[in-house]
């Protein structure tokens, strides 16, 4: 490799690490500790992204975290749903319209929307896991005729902690998808399911031999969900999970998110179950 091309390669690497300034155009409070930010690009357009990818968001003076993109791929800006769980996410969740954040990305792998064409599609979300799935759901609904049955299963702690409740209500009215909501606990005013989200899998009708499942949520929930999908007859190579680890550089350099031979930031976050099943079973990873 010539010196010139090496310099170009290094410059590209550096560009990938350099945040751009984005303006907070809108803040949508979702839950007591969760907000959705609409971020406007510095110039007219933002980089393209695929459903499932993430950005690194930088709260000035506090730090940087990986946050999944939760808006449509054709939305004008980047949409991120942030839950206040630490110093950086707390700072992001407090941002008001007009504030500026640093953003670099998008990074990572995407949900298999092309591979799922023609098949039944199951989205299984737990808690905040609905956010990374939402761009894929938008894409499937926008191209509804290209997919078989569309099933969305959403689990949450209780009715008050359901993310995107208004949107879920609108989806529930559609006749071309089967949306089931379940919560761990509820009172008598709740009129949907109570129980864990993997238990819904045996209650919905789909062709397990020709279905693709996209799963996102806490890792324990995903483990139980994979078991239920396997019991229903879905093959491991048709199950996709979005994993979360401690992502720092987002380009596979720092090693913080190493997952066996892979890096979640570069090879994930969306990974095919059969390719990671053995590593997922290692307790130390």
């Amino acid at each position: 490799m010539s010196t010139a091309s090496t310099d170009l390669s290094r410059r590209a690497d550096l560009d990938a690490l350099r945040p751009q300034l984005y303006r907070v155009a809108r803040v949508q409070p979702e839950l007591a500790d969760t907000s959705t930010l609409e971020l406007e690009p510095p110039s007219g357009s933002r980089p393209a992204f695929e459903a499932g990818q993430f950005n690194m968001l930088y709260a000035f003076g506090v730090g940087e975290i990986a946050v999944s993109i939760s808006g449509a791929t054709d939305a004008p800006g980047f949409i991120h749903t942030v839950r206040n769980v630490g110093a950086v996410s707390a700072a992001l969740a407090k941002l008001e319209v007009g504030a500026t954040v640093g953003l670099r990305g998008p990074y990572g792998s995407a949900w298999p929307l092309a591979a799922a064409r023609g098949a039944d599609v199951l989205f299984v979300a737990g808690g905040l896991g609905l956010a990374p799935l939402r761009p894929a759901i938008y894409a499937v609904l926008a191209n509804r005729a290209h997919y078989g049955r569309v099933i969305i299963l959403v689990g949450s702690r209780n009715p008050a902690s359901l993310l995107y409740a208004d949107e879920l209500a609108r989806w529930q009215e559609r006749l071309d998808l089967d949306l089931r909501l379940t919560v761990d606990h509820a009172d008598a005013a709740w009129h949907s399911h109570v129980g864990v989200v993997p238990a819904l899998i045996r209650r919905v009708a789909f062709d397990a031999s020709d279905a693709v499942a996209m799963v996102c949520g806490p890792e324990l929930m995903m483990r139980f969900t994979v078991n239920a999908l396997r019991e229903a007859g879905v093959e491991p190579e048709r199950i996709y999970l979005s994993l979360e680890r401690n992502m720092k550089c987002a380009v596979g350099l720092c090693g913080h998110c190493q997952f066996g031979p892979a890096f979640i930031c570069k090879d994930g976050p969306v990974m095919r179950f059969d390719r990671i099943a053995q590593i997922l079973a290692v307790r130390e990873i």
Binding site: D33, V85, G126, G127, L128, G155, S156, R157, S161, T182, D184, H185, A186, D187, A188, W190, H191, S192, H193, V194, G195, V196, P198, A199, R203, G217, P218, L220, M221, F224
Partner: protein, 152 residues
């Protein structure tokens, strides 16, 4: 085959049950209809029946003094309500409320326990059907207890 026996034959819980055993179970069965809000059973009451849901949804609840009942599970068409009839002292440990109009088949517990004692093949078959349901619910309960959606 007619009436209750036919309904039992179509219910997923009794799928594949031998004809002679199905006839024995049908002898202990009766039809129920519950409007939304009606209770199939109440905590502390005698568990002298279990239910096969044919249509509707049933909420399992536990009440605490001064608080509204907490729903800890919902069961749908094709599922069963109740395991307390299997083990002494045969008392319900929760309420079961029809969340919607519910049609169910009730199986008389004393009648079926007696037939299981008399015919251990039937008893063994019943255990093989109940145990996976109980294990499934135990696993689900484990996941609920872990509160995986909380901040960790």
């Amino acid at each position: 085959m007619e009436g209750l026996e036919l309904i039992l034959a179509k219910h997923p819980f009794f799928a594949g049950l031998a004809v002679e055993h199905r006839q024995l179970v049908a002898g202990c069965a009766r039809n129920h209809r519950y409007d939304a809000g009606e209770y199939l059973c109440r905590e502390g009451g005698a568990a002298n029946e279990f239910f096969l849901i044919r249509h509707g949804q049933v909420a399992l609840e536990i009440s605490a003094p001064g608080r509204p009942p907490v729903v800890f599970a919902t069961l749908d068409e094709g599922e069963i309500v109740g395991a307390s009839w299997l083990v002494p002292p045969y008392r319900w440990l929760h309420d079961a409320r029809a969340a919607t109009l519910t049609r169910a088949i009730g199986i008389d517990a004393a009648c079926l326990r007696g037939k299981c004692e008399a015919d251990h093949d039937l008893g063994y078959d019943m255990m093989k059907r109940f145990l996976p349901v109980l294990v499934q619910r135990l696993h689900a309960t484990q996941l609920q207890i872990l509160d995986v959606y909380g901040k960790h």
